[in-house]
Amino acid sequence: MLDYDIVIVGAGPAGSAAALKAASEGKRVLVIERGPEPGSKNVSGAMIRKDYVTSIFGEDMPFERNVETIKVSLYNGNKPVNIEFHPDGLVTTGRLKFDKWLSSVSEKAGAMVIPKTTALKLNWENGIAKSLITDRGEVSAKSFVLAEGVNSLVSMESGIKGDWTPENSVQAVKMVYSIKKGDLNTLFNLPDDNTGMSWRMITSDPLVAGFMYTYKDSLAVGIGSPIKELVDRKIRPEKLLDDFLEMTGIAEKVKGYSLREYSAKIIPEGGFPDINVARGNVYLCGDAIGLVDPLTFDGITPAIASGTIAGEAAVHNYDKEIYRYNLMKDPEISKIAKERKLETDFMTGNKAGEYINMVSSMLEGWASGDLMGIRNTMVSNYRNLIPDLMTFVMRMR
């Protein structure tokens, strides 16, 4: 049987961060990845914080375009209210290139990465995992990191955590269109091939969070919507995306360009801190413990943060309470943990609809000089809505 100090399941951002950390500390690390290569099974928007990633993985990160403008549109019916931000340090990237690069950095630090191999289950003895069984054989280790993403089958098989429910998960579908650089620049008023824009949209009925990101020579568009709502209303996610593209006018823009790729993936909306994060010498991180914001889809930063902490825990074989504490201490992770209540509010009932309608009417009132209207909206909603509202708008950046 193969034997390593630490075995990691998944070569996504969380797994590669854990591998980099553990290998840098001199441990013998093996990463098991089910895809033919890292990234080939993974779906994101993706917009990420370049400085954060390079602070851990070093320079030369592959990316598509610098995001100089983020437009946020709140749809209340078919008329959106738009807000524009000019962020610093955000870039767009595709997962195959990105994850391959992350994984290669962990390899340079000494980790061994084996693709095309699916982890099936852990072998336990007295609450301690002894080995991991894969479809190509068994490997033993002193500790394990499960960085297996949202469909965390090994974690569930081990009884460390349960599955997501329709109430706390989002179904997302995405399409990438091939559009020549020059055409893309013209379509979205981009000054050059390195500058990009992002567009995030929210609709209230049904509750849909959408995105549009400019890549170098293509356009990524997608939506996410709570599984419960889709199932209850028998809405097909794919149809929802098609309708969404029509409503936002993106369908018109991509007319005549070919579809390059279609993909889908669920997004967890519940999880840390209300979830078990470890058992014995096995540590969970990233999407496996729900570290993603379901409205903005930001999950890569907390995946890397938690992966690094899991790698450290695996090196020192920390007790699970210490691991949990270390996760909680990290600003990227505690931010998500603190937003949980807000999230539950958004996803259930029609709270999201209320927020969106309120922002829309406030901003419309403001724009048209109807100050009394704004005052009324604010007064009538003061108690329950205003404080959360600002958080809502700010996190869309």
């Binding site: 089910r34 895809g35 033919p36 290569e37 990234g39 080939s40 099974k41 993974n42 779906v43 994101s44 595709g94 997962r95 195959l96 693709p115 095309k116 191999t117 699916t118 479809d135 190509r136 949202v150 469909n151 089958l153 599955d163 997501w164 429910t165 329709p166 998960s169 179904q171 997302a172 579908v173 995405k174 399409m175 990438v176 890549y215 293509s218 990524a220 599984i227 889709l230 199932v231 028998k234 809405i235 097909r236 996610p237 794919e238 098609d242 579809l259 390059r260 790729e261 279609y262 993909s263 889908a264 993936k265 669920i266």
Partner: protein
């Protein structure tokens, strides 16, 4: 654009063994009586993997995009949901 045309954009290697299965077909009858058609698995799947034919759910696993939604949408936890083996299934390039 039809779903099948969208799925054509994917690189795919077929595992000859299905990674998806229905645990108990009677449960699907119960589900259909309660939820009607399309059933939750049929309606949540973005790749037309599930279809209702002759009173049973038929699985076209080679269409699967491995998103995970059907497993969660099934009100009876009646879908056995695994990953394809040996790196098979979809291989994304631009997602």
């Amino acid at each position: 654009m039809r779903t099948e045309e969208k799925l054509y954009t994917l690189r795919y290697k077929k595992d000859d063994k299905s990674h998806l299965a229905i645990k108990d077909e009677n449960t699907c009858l119960e589900c259909t009586a309660k939820y009607g058609e399309p059933q939750p698995c049929v309606s949540i799947c973005p790749a037309n993997v599930f279809s209702w034919q002759n009173n049973r759910i038929v699985i076209g696993y080679e269409n699967c995009v491995e998103c995970g939604a059907s497993r969660i949408a099934c009100p009876y936890e009646n879908i056995e949901w695994n990953y394809p083996r040996f790196g098979k299934g979809i291989a994304l390039r631009y997602a």
